[in-house]
């Protein structure tokens, strides 16, 4: 099997995986941070493979069709829909957690309270850095 065949096979596997992840995500009201990261990772995986294959002159028309279908799926289901829902979810989550933590700041706390609240701060940092990452993707869309 030559390297184009290998890449084509890999593209088929990864794009099917992406389709399944996105369809499953669309059915959920909210996604966990790890699910969000997994989706963006898979999007990058598939789009990079698509870009690589499109540079090859010898790929078949069937493969070109598959690549175009996959990119259309990403554009319609993800870029125009799920990506915006994720941005909204992260923004709301940051706002709500910040509000709760700010409110709690005025209260006297025990050692246990402080250390348990520190976990919420860690979560907030994680959500914020995920949002930064998602915003980078958004900037890429605006530049397209």
């Amino acid at each position: 099997m030559d390297s184009i065949d290998e890449s084509s096979n890999l593209f088929n596997i990864e794009s099917e995986k992406l389709e399944s992840i996105i369809n499953s995500a669309l059915a959920k009201p909210e996604l966990s941070i790890s699910e969000i990261i997994q989706i963006y990772y898979q999007i990058m995986n598939v789009t990079s493979l698509a870009a690589l294959l499109k540079k090859q002159l010898s790929i078949s028309d069937t493969m070109t069709g598959k690549i175009n279908d996959s990119l259309k799926f990403i554009s319609e289901k993800f870029d125009s829909h799920l990506h915006h829902s994720i941005m909204k979810q992260l923004t709301n989550s940051i706002s709500n957690t910040t509000k709760n933590l700010t409110f709690g700041n005025t209260l006297e706390k025990s050692k246990e309270d402080v250390e348990s609240e520190a976990k919420l701060y860690e979560q907030l940092r994680q959500i914020m850095s995920t949002k930064e990452f998602v915003e980078q993707y958004d900037k890429g869309l605006s530049n397209d």
């Binding site: 933590l101 700010t102 706390k109 050692k111 402080v114 250390e115 520190a118």
Partner: protein
């Protein structure tokens, strides 16, 4: 003596990091008594403990024997100050403190170099300014974040000069400085360069002050930051651009290097003039 204290403090920190099993966000230690390893005036040590005990960032403390040194362990949390700074964009760099013992050793070295005034830029809870006062130096603390300034007001029992101000806009000529040294808060890679450049511009514009002024920059060799082409733990380009040269580096423990094998390099620099 300072080199020995620094070496012993690093060893103590490494020992403490191995033993520590608590869950606090930040933690540090201060020896209880003057010793051969820490030949520090007892009155000064007592004041450092008082600073930590009164400081609301610490919510718990206890005595522990670390190596051969009896210490007090202080456990703290600075999350609410971080949240405040990101909510209101009130600072150039998020607050994360050096150790109180490190602040003391850094200022002790500055004093040995002959500097008369310490200006703690982006002073956080004001520990460097406080240590300067403990060591009998004139001391100024400049902090932009009003929440941290309110915290410092609880700790000014030694009466250092506290200003809630943007250090890049502050009028330093009003302080009539003679032989100052500026401790710049924040790593070069975390907003420190912007802060330092702003203060350097201000000092360079005051006649005859540049050649008498010292600078201390908190550096990092962490691989997570892009290295500065001129080195100096992230500060090389700024040092060269401002016609300075580094004279010495003190490696000292800080809150952000507690879990790291390397300490924070404090780069002491002065003018080439």
């Amino acid at each position: 003596m300072i080199e020995d204290i620094t070496k012993n403090l690093i060893n103590l920190k490494k020992e403490f990091a191995k033993l520590y099993d608590g869950k606090s966000q930040i933690q540090e230690i201060i020896p209880v008594l003057k010793s051969e390893s820490f030949p520090i005036i007892q009155k000064d040590l007592d004041l450092l403990h008082k600073f930590a005990e009164k400081n609301p960032i610490y919510y718990n403390f206890y005595e522990k024997l670390i190596g051969n040194t009896n210490c007090i362990v202080y456990e703290g949390d600075i999350n609410k100050y971080w949240l405040n700074s990101i909510q209101y964009g009130s600072s150039h760099a998020p607050f994360s403190p050096t150790w109180i013992m490190s602040a003391y050793v850094g200022v002790l070295y500055a004093k040995e170099l002959g500097y008369q005034e310490i200006i703690d830029i982006g002073s956080g809870d004001g520990r460097i300014a406080f240590c300067a006062k403990v060591l009998g130096l004139e001391s100024y603390s400049i902090e932009i974040d009003s929440m941290l300034v309110e915290l410092q007001k609880l700790l000014t029992f030694l009466d250092f000069h506290l200003y809630c101000s943007d250090a890049t806009l502050f009028d330093y000529s009003s302080l009539s400085l003679l032989r100052p040294i500026f401790f710049i808060g924040g790593l070069a890679q975390m907003g420190g360069t912007t802060l330092a450049s702003g203060v350097l511009d201000k000092i360079n514009s005051i006649p005859n002050l540049k050649k008498n002024t010292g600078w201390v920059f908190a550096g990092s060799y962490s691989q997570k930051y892009q290295p500065d082409p001129k080195n100096e733990a992230g500060w090389g380009t700024l040092i060269e651009k401002n016609d300075l040269h580094s004279t010495h580096t003190l490696s000292l423990p800080t809150a952000w290097t507690f879990h790291e094998p390397d300490e924070t390099p404090y780069i002491f620099a002065k003018s080439n003039i």
